[in-house]
């Protein structure tokens, strides 16, 4: 009865926005808050007369806000002091899995902004380089370079420290 174009957009993409934020944050309640913020911001960009690539734009807004929130929370936390030892426990253990997720998210937030965005879009959102290039309005080459750099940094971060034994 009340579905305006705006209502339709919210109903269609709220799941996408929450999911994108949830993947970055790992906390559903925070993701819901972020989603509301994203739609508030989207409303200000909204005009029935203008066409936007809403799925990509909303996804990017959710990821950026989620990364910002994580960065704010982790400013005082040293990644160096919380390296994970991937061999320390049974990886099938749920708690260990959660810890790996948490550490991965923390590592992603420590990447430069563009690299963390590209990594989230490529790995968490499973978008192709072409789709990411469209969302970020950059070339596919730039996406590939940013993703390689991101993975390089992450590989370095998750390497065992020199004192570790094999």
């Amino acid at each position: 009865m009340f579905d305006s174009p705006w209502d339709t957009l919210v109903r269609r993409y709220s799941s996408l926005v929450i999911s994108s934020a949830w993947r970055v944050l790992g906390c559903l309640a925070d993701a819901e808050d972020i989603a509301q913020d994203v739609f508030l911001e989207a409303f200000r960009k909204w005009s029935p007369d203008e066409q936007h690539a809403w799925p990509g734009l909303l996804r990017r807004m959710a990821i950026c806000r989620a990364l910002d929130l994580l960065r704010t929370r982790q400013r005082s936390q040293s990644l160096e002091s919380s390296r994970i030892d991937e061999r320390a426990a049974d990886p099938s253990d749920t708690l260990v899995k959660q810890e790996v997720h948490t550490q991965l998210r923390a590592a992603v937030t420590s990447l430069p902004q563009r690299e963390s965005e590209v990594f989230c879009l490529a790995c968490f959102e499973q978008l192709s380089h072409e789709e990411i290039a469209d969302v970020l309005q950059v070339s596919r080459g730039s996406v590939a370079v940013a993703l390689s750099k991101a993975k390089s940094r992450l590989t370095e971060m998750f390497q065992p420290t020199s004192g570790d034994s094999k």
Binding site: F2, D7, V10, V17, I18, A31, F43, H101, S148
Partner: protein, 367 residues
């Protein structure tokens, strides 16, 4: 086209973690919660203190909160380097017995209302709305267009778009009248699980009367002849989702004058003097930064009487203007009809009690 070769392969356990994270999808109840919160409330900015996952601040609460925020400035201290010191303003205000003023919405808020009205015009739901209102669709369209023209005309002419009138008497008595033009269909829930649908083109009037000395707080809705006695206030913890209810009673702390005096004077910046409507006024500005939101209040004080003549407030997020209010037509010690502060339900009004205060709670949201 093939993707470029990626020389940096992540470890199997990290790849597994990535796949697990990528497989996370928002559960339907979460999606419903957010969709409801976004669509069932006008998309107005919210202050951080009201932030919560269960519901957005309503337009009514938004205006009330900004009123309090702005009114706080009436009693703030001044800074050096201005011809009017705040101490003088505070002293002069302390001599007054009553104040009344008009509050207007910010241009950004007015533009947002226009945007919502245009959306409603384009909505397929307009025909159904018109039917509910027993109007022809064209009649409703004309009514909505008239509201758009009214706001646009005022903005073009530089006139304020009025949103509320306020009277404060004897430190304890408070009355606020606001008329909101409904821009889109809004479903308002009541405490008994019922609901009212506010339809576009309606003018929704609400009057709030508070006696802080006796603790009586009533909300009147003249259009619907309803009187709600506010017996308690419910707040929601944004992290746990739990609700806390406190009884509304006599509360000297809600005395406006007392509250305003507690504002730290060193937060003010002097803006010097300027001419405003033929008067020489001195400006003070206060900026509060909560990290996420920035609230700016600007107070223009009559340099002769040392009383406020105009108060402007703005809310920004990351530097982006989200809205605000302007208080003007401020008049002190004018005779106010005592009946305006009567908390007795008017004759013919349906009286009810409510424990919900500006927050929408649905059963599915309760933890």
């Amino acid at each position: 086209m093939t993707q470029p070769h990626d020389p940096f392969e992540l470890s199997p356990s990290l790849n597994q973690a990535i796949q697990e994270i990528a497989a996370m999808h928002a559960p339907p109840e979460s999606t419903n919660r957010v969709t409801t919160a976004v669509l069932n409330q006008p998309p107005v900015p919210r202050p951080t203190v009201q932030r919560g996952r269960l519901g957005r601040r309503t337009a009514l609460t938004a205006i009330a909160v900004s009123c309090v925020t702005v009114a706080v400035g009436l009693f703030m201290n001044g800074t050096p380097f201005t011809q009017v010191a705040f101490a003088d303003v505070q002293q002069e205000l302390g001599k007054t017995h009553s104040v009344q003023y008009v509050e207007s919405m910010h241009e950004v808020d007015a533009q947002n209302e226009i945007k919502l009205l245009k959306l409603t015009l384009a909505s397929e739901g307009l025909v159904a709305d018109a039917k509910t209102m027993k109007l022809e669709p064209d009649e409703l369209r004309q009514r909505i267009q008239a509201r758009i023209d009214d706001i646009q005309g005022k903005l073009t002419r530089g006139e304020p778009v009025e949103s509320a009138r306020v009277w404060i008497e004897g430190r304890y008595l408070f009355r606020r009248e606001q008329t909101l033009g409904i821009a889109k269909s809004v479903e308002v829930l009541d405490e008994k699980g019922g609901s009212t649908v506010l339809l576009p083109g309606m003018h929704f009037q609400r009057i709030e009367i508070t006696n802080a000395e006796t603790g009586v707080n009533v909300h009147l809705e003249p259009d619907r002849k309803k009187c709600v006695l506010m017996k308690s206030q419910t707040t929601i913890n944004q992290h746990s989702g739990k609700t806390t209810t406190t009884e509304i009673g006599p509360n000297p702390a809600s005395n406006f004058y007392l509250e305003f005096k507690n504002i730290l004077p060193e937060k003010l910046t002097s803006l010097g003097e300027k001419s405003l409507n033929g008067k020489t006024v001195t400006g003070f500005r206060k900026i509060e930064d909560s990290g996420e939101w920035q609230f700016t209040s600007t107070y223009w004080i009559d340099s002769t009487t040392k009383l406020p003549v105009k108060i402007e407030s703005e809310m920004r997020k990351d530097g982006v203007l989200y809205g605000g209010t302007t208080i003007a037509n401020i008049a002190f010690d004018q005779t106010i009809d005592p009946n305006l502060f009567s908390t007795q339900p008017p004759a013919g009004y349906e009286v009810s009690e409510s424990g919900i205060h500006g927050i929408e709670i649905r059963k599915s949201d309760e933890k």
